[in-house]
Amino acid sequence: MDCLRTENLCKVYQSNGLEVAALHGVDLRVERGEFVSIVGPSGSGKTTLLNLIGGLDMPTSGTVYVDDLDITAMSERQRSDLRLARIGFVFQEFNLIPVLSARENVEYVMLLQGMGQAEASKQACATLALVGLQGLEERRPNQLSGGQQQRVAVARAIATGPSIVLADEPTANLDSETGQKLVQVMRQLNDDLGITFVFSTHDPMVIDSARRVIRMRDGRLLGQQ
Amino acid sequence: MSFYSRMLPITLIWLMVGLPLLFSVAAKDATEAVDAREVIRKMDLLMRGDSSFGSYRMTITDPDWERTLTLNAWELRTGKKTFIQILSPAKEAGIVTLKIDFEMWNYLPRVERIVKIPPSMMLQPWMGSDFTNDDLVKASSIVADYSHEILAEETISGHDAYKVELIPNPDAPVVWGRIFAWVRKSDSMPLRQEFFAEDGELIRVLRFDNIREVRGREVPTYWEMIPVGEKGRQTVMEVLDLEIDAEIDESIFTLRNLKLNN
């Protein structure tokens, strides 16, 4: 089963009365367990594509299937619930809720899903250990470095066992070494736990780690390697 | 025929018939207005004159008691002076009311003091009767302060009478909204008066009766004042003696005389 599939995805924005096409008929297929990077210059439509895949936005035309569910036919509420249940997000920055500790941030999604506090706590600590942050569970985001924050975000993204984790330029604000480390963590999780990752980037170092690279330019997919 | 020559005869007829009609109506009104006022003036003069001296008996009836006072009253037209002395009963004997123009005093022999009646008390009962201080002071003139109109001709107590409506003039110092006065057609003898408040409510009724001759004059000798809203109350004035235009010493009408007279 495909984890993710898009068919003829198009997105057109209205900007100051002008129409701007961000995506032109994107057809994409990602299988379970893949580690995909979407690469392209800024303005190529990477973020737009990820937003559409994640159900954060609706396409102008075309369809998106997550776990064979047509999310483009869903209501706002249904998409929100779907995100909660099946999709993990890692954004470029400001991923975490500032007033919650690392552990609590990771617990957040689990508690939203209805998990008990004790269990969520246990799971959160375990996941934080997986990303190498044991001992730092009670720290607030402002007590963590950039790289550590991103790792907490990753932990949160995977803690509930999502179908797919979407990361939009996760290393953009990190120095190269930290960025590398982060991707390594993600790669490790992909290898060990088989979690599907799709992330966008323009960092060449990151690209190297990916098993599959999809290039984009001007809203179109170019080639796939 | 032109339009105008057709209209002319009709116009003439209207003029010949209509105008006299208009005039007569107007004339009738004019004569009636004069009549009404004159009627009231005559009535006013009947009991007065340039001076007068009278003896009266006043009986006041109340649900809880009844009292009878006898009194003498002197009146002088010039200077609008009145001097009333209570003769009986004993508790009130010697009380004098003096009025000069629009001011009023009482002399109380019991405490040997003269008391001035302030304007705020003008509508209070005089000596506990249903006549007010103002009725005596007569701050208003029934002739000058009202406009008069004869409303109808009626028969009251066997007499042919005019029913006259008196409406106070705008600035008149009068507390009534309207007065009806019935006067005998032949000689303007007062027969009945009804006093209405400004909101139209009937407040009191003054009835005159027993018209007979006293010292050569025909006067009503029985005056009955009934306050309409107060159950069981009335005041009756009986004229025992009345002399009009008698010789009266002006010095009676002084504050000094109030005390001396006792």
Partner: protein
């Protein structure tokens, strides 16, 4: 729920200064309202107490039909027995007989219409401190000393001097003219313009003789220990006197304008409450909007993660609840403290007592009064205001689209 309570609480504590300012706004607004209610209630209490004592007393007993006809013959006979019986009633501070007649007060030079009041001197002064209200001369020696007390305004008008002989002329019960001489014993100042200008006080027995009342009086007046006892006592008396031919009336029936004035005054107080809370709510609204704007990204992330809009609304409202509870608690405490402190000494208005004469206070000192109902209503209103002010910001936060929210930096 516990999750959001936690987040809400930490959000409130996040920006200490902003929170403190908001709390200050809520609590000072509430404290001010409580204080004003306290002053207002205290003033009303004082006014009722004093007005009532000076004019009518708490409860007045008349003979049936006296009030309809104002007829002196509708009098209470055997008032002595009645007064002694009333003394014994629980909750009664003082009972005293009175006679009221309209009459004329005259000096050698002037006269004035007056309301003549015949009193039992010993009992009467317990009602409104009449003895202490004598500003010139002295109090009545007895109830048949042929002495008279008049108000300072009447004394001015009559140009009367102490010791002068004054004539009192009335229409007696039997229709005759009652006139007696009284010696001007004292001049009083009750602080009520109408009474000081038209009330003349003489002894009860003197009044009975003057007006040929025999042994009767026109009314019996009761002062209760506390205004709160009045309605119960009146009801008991009405019951008791059902067949006895007496009419029992309370002060608010005799002076309906008093109650209406108080009701009107309360209306103004409530208007003030609304205004203050409206201002406070604008402040809160502003602060919360700022806070929401600053957290746009955060809300976006939460929504992206799958948080429902309703949950966001709940979160913001919870923050408002925390602010509201703390602010209200602080405000209540401050308000109650203020009122209690002021009630200790009272507020002395004697500097302005010229105007106070109009509302007839015995002592121009107001003791602010705490009433649970007032404090309760004000606090509830303050709390509600906080919540209401947060509604718009909450809705704004919930309506943010995740995409836009995340994009905004």
């Amino acid at each position: 729920m516990q999750l959001f309570s936690r987040i809400a609480w930490r959000n409130v504590m996040r920006n200490r200064r902003r929170t403190l300012i908001t709390l200050a706004a809520i609590s000072s607004g509430l404290a001010a309202i409580i204080l004003f209610f306290g002053l207002s209630n205290g003033f009303h209490d004082q006014w009722i107490t004093n007005s009532v004592r000076v004019y009518t007393g708490h409860i007045v007993i008349f003979a049936e039909e006296y009030r309809d006809e104002r007829n002196l013959n509708r009098k209470i006979e055997n008032s002595d027995d009645l007064i002694i019986w009333l003394d014994g009633m629980p909750g009664v501070e003082t009972a005293t007989p009175r006679i009221h007649i309209n009459g004329l007060v005259s000096t050698a030079r002037n006269s004035a219409m007056a309301l003549v009041r015949g009193i039992n001197p010993a009992r009467e002064t317990r009602i409104a401190g009449l003895r202490e209200r004598i500003v010139e001369g002295s109090y009545l020696d007895s109830d048949n000393a042929r002495q008279i007390l008049i108000g300072h305004k009447m004394a001015d008008r009559l140009n009367a001097a102490l010791g002068e002989k004054i004539v009192l002329m009335v229409q007696a019960a039997d229709g005759s003219i009652g006139a007696e001489l009284f010696r001007l014993q004292g001049i009083f100042r009750l602080g009520a313009v109408d009474l000081d200008g038209s009330l003349a006080i003489i002894g009860l027995k003197d009044a009975q003789e003057l007006a040929a009342l025999g042994g009767g009086v026109t009314e019996a007046v009761l002062i209760m220990d506390s205004p709160a006892d009045v309605s119960a006592a009146a009801a008991a008396l009405i019951n008791e006197f059902d067949r006895a031919g007496y009419e029992v009336l309370t002060w608010d029936q005799l002076m309906p304008q008093a109650k209406e004035m108080i009701a009107l005054s309360n209306v103004f107080t409530y208007i003030l409450l609304v205004i203050i809370l409206a201002v406070v709510s604008l402040g809160i609204l502003n602060t919360m909007l700022m806070s929401i704007m600053e957290r746009t990204r955060e809300f976006g992330i939460m929504r992206a993660l799958g948080t429902r809009p309703a949950q966001i609304v709940r979160l913001v409202l919870l923050e408002a609840v925390y602010l509201g509870v703390i602010g209200t608690a602080l405000g209540m405490t401050a308000g109650i403290l203020l009122v209690t402190l002021l009630a200790w000494e009272g507020i002395d208005l004697s500097r302005w007592s010229g105007a106070m004469d109009l509302v007839s206070s015995l002592k121009p000192i107001i003791y602010p009064a705490l009433r649970p109902a007032s404090v309760g209503i004000a606090s509830l209103a303050a709390f509600a205001t906080t919540l209401i002010a947060a509604i718009y910001p909450a809705l704004r936060a919930a309506r943010l689209r995740p995409v836009d929210a995340i994009r905004s930096l």
